[in-house]
């Protein structure tokens, strides 16, 4: 990394204490450090809603940052704040989700595609028929409703697949596990499980209650990826949903600050699917598996072309000046 940075970057995130978001913030820090262009990061990172994020964005405007990278609590809810930021000459980049503010740049994981890809694979594994246990995220969250669209799209392609039960895990491990166990106790037959990223506890629950190991779809969390190669008889797929999108957001912001505007306003990072049913998938899983990572962290800790930090840097989770 070069000597002196020249930019201050503000970051706004509204979910704290969740492995994915923590990795995202660490990726932002690591990328800022690795780029060598950033003097200081102003990070507003707490649990709040769209109104709270507006407050944070305005505080960042007050702090006179050069760019703001934001993981929006809601695509439309923070429009006013982003508009004010642009007016103040601040570059705005939204990561993970799109925003409705037209002046903002977006580099996003494709949530709809995430769900579609996993669900489609799952339904194929089920032979195109049977019952699926549909474990969603948090009711009322916009990422959850995007994923629901993708799931429903896949479902429409497989008319013989039925939803045995739909539950909201709230993206909480304990709740998800309890729901899985309760569901198992009902004795309802089911042929597959789709999870919105709360995955390893589901495998645990199946194993503990000696239930038949049906195919399970999850995210690329370290714990689940490990299980996919270590749990005997488990067929499953991890769909990538890289938290390192945060690092990509920082990169994009720096490019714009340096005058290299991207061709289009929105960059979508499409997810990949690694299953342990094919050799190709197995190889990818093996390459990605990283038992040293905290089990809640996604293993896809970097995005080719977009992030330049090393694994040590993201794990160290230190930004410029720390």
């Amino acid at each position: 990394s070069s000597a002196e940075g020249k930019y201050t970057i503000g970051i706004s995130n509204t979910v704290q204490g969740n492995g994915w978001r923590e990795e995202m913030v660490c990726a932002m820090k690591a990328q800022a450090l690795a780029s060598g262009e950033v003097t200081k990061l102003n990070i507003a990172h707490r649990n709040t809603d769209a109104a709270g994020q507006l407050e944070d964005i305005r505080n960042l405007i007050s702090a006179k940052v050069n760019a703001i990278v934001v993981n929006p609590a809601d695509p439309a809810g923070i429009k006013a704040g982003l508009e004010e930021a642009t007016k103040a000459g601040i570059v705005v980049v939204a990561v993970d989700q799109a925003v409705t503010e037209p002046s903002a740049y977006i580099i996003s994981n494709n949530q709809e595609q995430y769900a579609y890809l996993g669900a489609k694979w799952l339904f194929q594994q089920m032979g195109g028929k049977g019952e699926v246990f549909y474990m969603r995220g948090a009711a009322g969250a916009s990422a959850d409703s995007d994923r629901d669209k993708g799931f429903k799209k896949a479902l429409a392609e497989f008319p013989d697949v039925k939803v045995a039960q739909e539950v909201f895990t709230g993206w909480q491990q304990d709740q998800a596990k309890q729901q899985m166990l309760s569901f198992l106790a009902t004795g309802t037959p089911f042929n597959g499980v789709w999870t919105s990223g709360i995955d390893n506890v589901i495998v645990d629950a199946l194993v503990e209650s000696q239930a038949p190991l049906v195919p399970v779809v999850g995210a690329d969390n370290a714990g689940f990826v490990g299980q996919l190669s270590s749990v005997k008889g488990l067929v499953g797929a991890a769909v990538t949903n890289p938290g390192s999108i945060g690092g990509a957001g920082v990169t994009l912001a720096l490019q714009i600050l340096d005058g290299k505007k991207p061709a289009q306003q929105t960059v979508l990072v499409d997810p990949q699917l690694w299953d342990n049913a094919t050799d190709e998938g197995k190889a990818k899983l093996k390459a990605a598996a990283d038992p040293s990572l905290s089990p809640e962290w996604p293993v896809s800790i970097s995005i080719p072309d977009w992030t330049t930090y090393t694994k040590e840097q993201i794990v160290a989770c230190k930004g410029p000046g720390e």
């Binding site: 507006l54 809810g77 006013a80």
Partner: protein
């Protein structure tokens, strides 16, 4: 007399703290100006209404755990009604939503009075009910808001006869807050109802024996709380332009600010000014933490420390005063 002084003393102290914080802010960010103050006012708005909602019931000797859920429900209701509707339609939506908050608050009170279940349980149960209802109204964040409503809290009020530089320090959001609170609170405080609310919070038995209609007063206190929460919900919709069915962090924040503002949990004491000033203090602390680019993991520690320290300090002062 001494009690009166002590209470006013606390609010004065909070004001002083707020001023110190403004000075600190100015030191951290010399460019901190009227526009930033406007941002502060807008950030304060939903919190202030949440705190007002909590304050009324706390003074009446209760607690309302459903404040944030009520805000979410009123917010999604307003947003879903206004989505795609005409600007004028909002003129109907606003009173409707306020009435809804009032009615649901009254329902809270009614359930407490009728079932005799402790208020903390009733409002906890209502928290789930209102959250559920919010999800039924809007499954995901969405909806819209009339432009004039959004405009009501952005920008400043031109005050005739004053130079623009002064006007700039009178953000509309602040004025909306002051007007809404004063129009309800000041007459209330002077009315028999207000007195009754303090009375049932102070001693329910003595109030009953003084001829206060305890049940009706309790129901009305919760209804007012619902009304303030509905204002809060509207404020959310006005600032974000949408409604979100998941409640924001307003419940715990409201309880904390109530206590910081010198209102005794247990009832009968305090006023609305203290908690509102406390909200400003808490929001400004947040601003300063962001301006200082403090490690976000440390900000939680700092906010917790400030909360505990201020309340401990208050307790310490009271103890000294008693000796």
């Amino acid at each position: 007399m001494s009690h009166f002084l002590r209470r006013q003393g606390w609010v004065t102290g909070l004001f002083a703290l707020l001023i110190v914080l403004f000075i600190v802010t100015k030191l951290i960010q010399p460019g901190y100006g009227s526009g930033d103050f406007g941002s502060l006012a807008r950030a304060v708005l939903p919190y202030a209404f949440a705190v007002a909602a909590q304050t009324v019931v706390v003074i009446a000797g209760g607690i309302d755990l459903s404040v944030a859920a009520m805000m979410a429900l009123t917010s999604v209701t307003a947003a879903s009604m206004m989505a795609g509707a005409s600007e004028e339609y909002a003129l109907f939506v606003v009173p409707f939503v306020l009435a809804m908050g009032f009615a649901l608050g009254a329902l809270n009170g009614l359930l407490i009075v009728v079932t005799r279940v402790p208020d903390i349980v009733v409002t906890l149960a209502m928290l789930f009910v209102l959250q559920g209802a919010a999800l039924l109204v809007l499954g995901a964040p969405g909806g819209g808001a009339a432009e004039w409503l959004k405009a009501m809290i952005s920008g400043t009020v031109p005050i005739p006869g004053l130079p623009d530089a002064v006007d700039a320090w009178a953000p509309k959001a602040l004025l909306v807050l002051i007007v809404c609170l004063c129009v309800i609170w000041i007459p209330l405080r002077r009315s028999r109802l207000g007195l009754s609310i303090y009375a049932i919070g102070s001693s329910e038995l003595a109030a009953f024996r003084s001829g206060v209609p305890v049940k009706r007063t309790r129901i009305l206190a919760y209804a007012l709380s619902g009304l303030f929460a509905a204002f809060g919900g509207l404020a959310l919709t006005m600032s974000t332009g949408i409604g979100a069915p998941i409640p924001g962090p307003y419940l715990l924040a409201s309880v904390a600010a109530v206590v910081l503002g010198g209102v005794a949990l247990g009832g009968g004491k305090g006023g609305l000014l203290g908690p509102i000033v406390a909200v400003f203090v808490l929001r400004l602390v947040r601003t300063d933490l962001t301006l200082l680019a403090i490690d976000p993991n440390v900000t939680a520690i700092i906010e917790g420390l400030i909360m505990v320290a201020v309340v401990m300090f208050g307790a310490f002062i009271t103890m000294r005063g008693r000796q």
